[in-house]
Subunit: 500 residues, 2 copies
């Protein structure tokens, strides 16, 4: 047993008579005064398993009850694993305290592709910057997604309907294999538990059956550290489920996950209520990528733009932005200390498009995303949104900020005016305390610009061309309001780093 | 006297003793059973003038009363002038029924520049596609606007404050000259009556003085056909005026304009209430250029995006978009049957930037705007927004549109969700009845696409590259849902024209 690594007990026994999912099997793991109760599962082939993810080092006793009755002892030793990713403020961090900045990609039906394609995808991911993959438990039916998977999560009843009480063990072994292969490359699985793009009936499981499915999934997977729960992709277009159902699903996940993996719910149009206690971070679909700081402030949680259109050339407006625009949106998002998720949809006669099936990457953005990722990892801390004090002079004109008529005007705007106005500012700012200030100009082609730095420190000012991936010193030493000469093109960031 | 052309009567008389603005001088023009009462004005140099803009041909009598008492007769004959531009549905039309599609540009302080610069601007405009110029009565103080004009609209009192009762006649003669020079080139003056960018005190005239100014302005200018009234540029940041003041200004304009020139009020952040009866069209500042059709439907009036950022490279986010982005926004706007206004802000050491002072055009968008303008003028009618029937198949799945859960979902969105979602669709559509369908893809780089044409007609399908200004036939004869192969780049429009 090693800390932050899946510990598994395996027992032989007769196959369950009734449900193969809801078997009476649980275990208590005790370490000092702490204990964890976990459920075991039937893994097929007369085998029962209990999985546990130790959170602390030390001497453990364990006791298995139910269809198997056993007990034992284990010493949990130190590990090299970072543990699960957890939310902390507006950001994420591994359990061991090491840095984790999510740079995800989307391969919805990854686990439902032929083995040779999965192999190719894994090879691609080895070279790619992505450290999170959004993928689905259920297979996907949609444009460019017409192939049937080898396995489905459940066996079928005689009437052809799914029997959630009889998991297809080969399916689950396979899914775990995919998750483990990603884990070996340091890639988190943002596992999508439900979605609407379906021709097999998984999107219309009655809620009671959905809960049986979740229970079995949690028994098997919750002890795997590199998993996040994405309740759904586009929950709001799963018209068979009501909001009450979603709350029930959320509750079922929480009750069956002893380790509190990251949990969110991804929208199509109507954002999930990210203020809910169980929700660890915002998982948004929107192109309003300027709203990261607004949502951080509202929800006090990290914000991930898990879909903001994909680089590609297919017919759908969400799937045909340019490599530059993908890069641009990533920088707009990350400058304010939020995070983005990549996706790629280049038309292909063989229907293998990265966003759903993997394969190879064809786009121009991944290497720019890698550049951005390296840059962000090189900073002394995570970026927080920076409201550049551009209204400093104005503030002096009024007794208080509240008296400033511009601020009053902004506060008086109706939602239509507010939301449409907010799209305007192409530029955005982030900072690491007083150490680093970052200003990204988006599609603004400024040739003259400025940055308002603290007056009492000196900064080296550099310019980053996010497309060319070049970095160039503009000013060796700057303080306070600093004029900038820029190339007058899109995709320029200015970085000010405090001189020691 | 010619129809739609300014008719002027001029009389000698002693200079007014009191106000030079509010002189007791009016005239009644009678033609058959119709009559018009207009006010005259003191033009300086012991001269009083009465101006009249005949709306119909025929035999007129006129009678001047007040400080001058005269009467006479005139025959009003046919003219070659198109008359004033009027709003009609979502569009504009000259009084004589001829087509007018506004393609404006912005030269705020045009009238306040040295004569040589004005000459240069007029030369530039001769070659440019613009048929409307937004410019100000009052001089402008702002970045790159530090020069004083030769004349101001009023003389000063002894205490140095402006005396609205003593117009500076040289100023008004000069302003009229500028308006007339534009008129000669077929360019409308979208005359901005108030604005906030001021160091002289014009933006803080007490409302009673503002009304004296308006009264004098209307006496002089309202008989000039090529003028639109823009109550303000960014009325909402003129913090000296309340909403009541704006309604008072609106009322004053209406009461003193016998001809009902086009009238709107341009915002910075808070849109004016364009549902007001006197407002003839929406004059919006926003980058939410996809909202033209929404506002047409809401206000039943034409929509002009009079500011949606300028092509340029200055420090302000409103003044540094690329030539492509300016072109792209123009196409997005115009495809849905709304209209846009150009502006250009390239940094220059001499502080001559087109948006405020004129001079020469440096940008890459004007020739693309010219191409778009020629294209729109070539269509059989004005474009109306086209909601491509992409949900046709879905509609068949439900008893009624109201039962479609996607439509229900969209209706249930809160304003934040609705506004942010609406920005997503890069593509937009317009049509001229069943004759022409236009689909513009914006920044969408589709390589595969489709267009849903009526099934019972045949169409020639062409592709327009809005940047390269090329037009190429894709399909000689198409009907119904038609698959398209496109180049997978930004700035592509698809045009379907009914085959006779």
């Amino acid at each position: 047993m090693r800390c932050y690594e899946t510990f598994e007990l395996s027992f032989q026994g007769e196959a369950p008579k009734g449900s193969h999912a809801e078997v009476a099997l649980s275990a208590v793991f005790t370490c000092g005064e702490k204990n964890w109760t976990v459920k075991g599962f039937y893994a097929g082939n007369n085998t029962y398993k209990v999985r546990f993810l130790p959170q602390i080092e030390g001497e453990y006793t364990w006791k298995v009850s139910g269809v198997v009755e056993k007990e034992g002892r284990e010493t949990c030793t130190e590990t090299e694993s970072h543990g699960m990713v957890k939310a902390e403020g507006n950001h994420f961090v591994y359990q061991d305290g090491s840095k984790y900045l999510p740079f995800g990609t989307t391969i919805y039906a990854l686990a439902h592709q032929p083995e040779t394609l999965i192999d190719q995808t894994m090879e691609t991911l080895k070279q790619a910057p992505f450290n999170k993959v959004r993928h689905c438990v259920f297979p996907k039916h949609y444009d460019y997604n017409h192939n049937d998977p080898e396995f489905y999560p459940f066996e079928k009843k005689e009437d052809g309907s799914w029997d959630v009480h009889h998991p297809c063990f080969a399916y689950w072994d396979h899914l775990e294999g995919v998750i483990r292969r990603l884990e070996e490359m340091g890639i988190e699985s943002d596992l999508i538990l439900f979605h609407a793009y379906d021709r097999w009936g998984f999107s219309s499981l009655p809620i009671e059956e959905a809960k049986v499915y979740l229970d079995y999934l949690m028994r098997r997977l919750s002890a795997i550290p590199c998993i996040w729960w994405s309740m759904a992709n586009e929950y709001d277009i799963m018209f068979n489920y009501t909001m009450e159902d979603w709350y029930e699903i959320e509750k079922t996940i929480c009750e069956n996950d002893p380790y509190h993996h990251l949990l969110s719910n991804h929208n199509c149009l109507r954002y999930y209520d990210h203020s809910r206690e169980a929700i660890t971070h915002c998982s948004m679909q929107t192109i309003a990528v300027h709203k990261g700081d607004e949502w951080q402030a509202r929800y006090k949680k990290p914000v991930i733009f898990d879909e903001f259109c994909y680089e590609g050339n297919i017919q759908h407006e969400w799937g045909n932005i340019s490599g530059f625009e993908m890069t641009n949106r990533f920088w707009k998002i990350c400058t304010k200390g939020a995070y983005g998720t990549h996706g790629e949809t280049f038309y292909s006669d063989d229907e293998v498009l990265w966003w759903s099936k993997g394969g190879v990457l064809k786009g121009e953005s991944p290497k720019r995303i890698a550049y951005l990722k390296d840059f962000l990892y090189s900073l002394p801390s995570c970026l927080e949104p920076w409201d550049e004090p551009v209204w400093e002079e104005q503030d002096e004109m009024y007794d208080s900020k509240e008296e400033n008529p511009f601020i009053k005007l902004i506060k008086s705007l109706n939602p239509e005016e507010k939301e449409t106005w907010k799209f305007k500012g192409g530029e955005c700012g982030g900072h690491c305390g007083e150490e680093v200030f970052l200003k990204y100009f988006g599609i603004q082609c400024a040739a003259v610009a400025s940055i308002k730095l603290p007056k009492d420190h000196k900064y080296k000012v550099e310019m980053i061309d996010v497309w060319e991936m070049t970095r160039k010193t503009l000013i060796e030493e700057a303080s306070g309001s600093t004029a900038l000469e820029l190339p007058g093109k899109e995709g320029i960031a200015v970085l000010a780093t405090k001189i020691a």
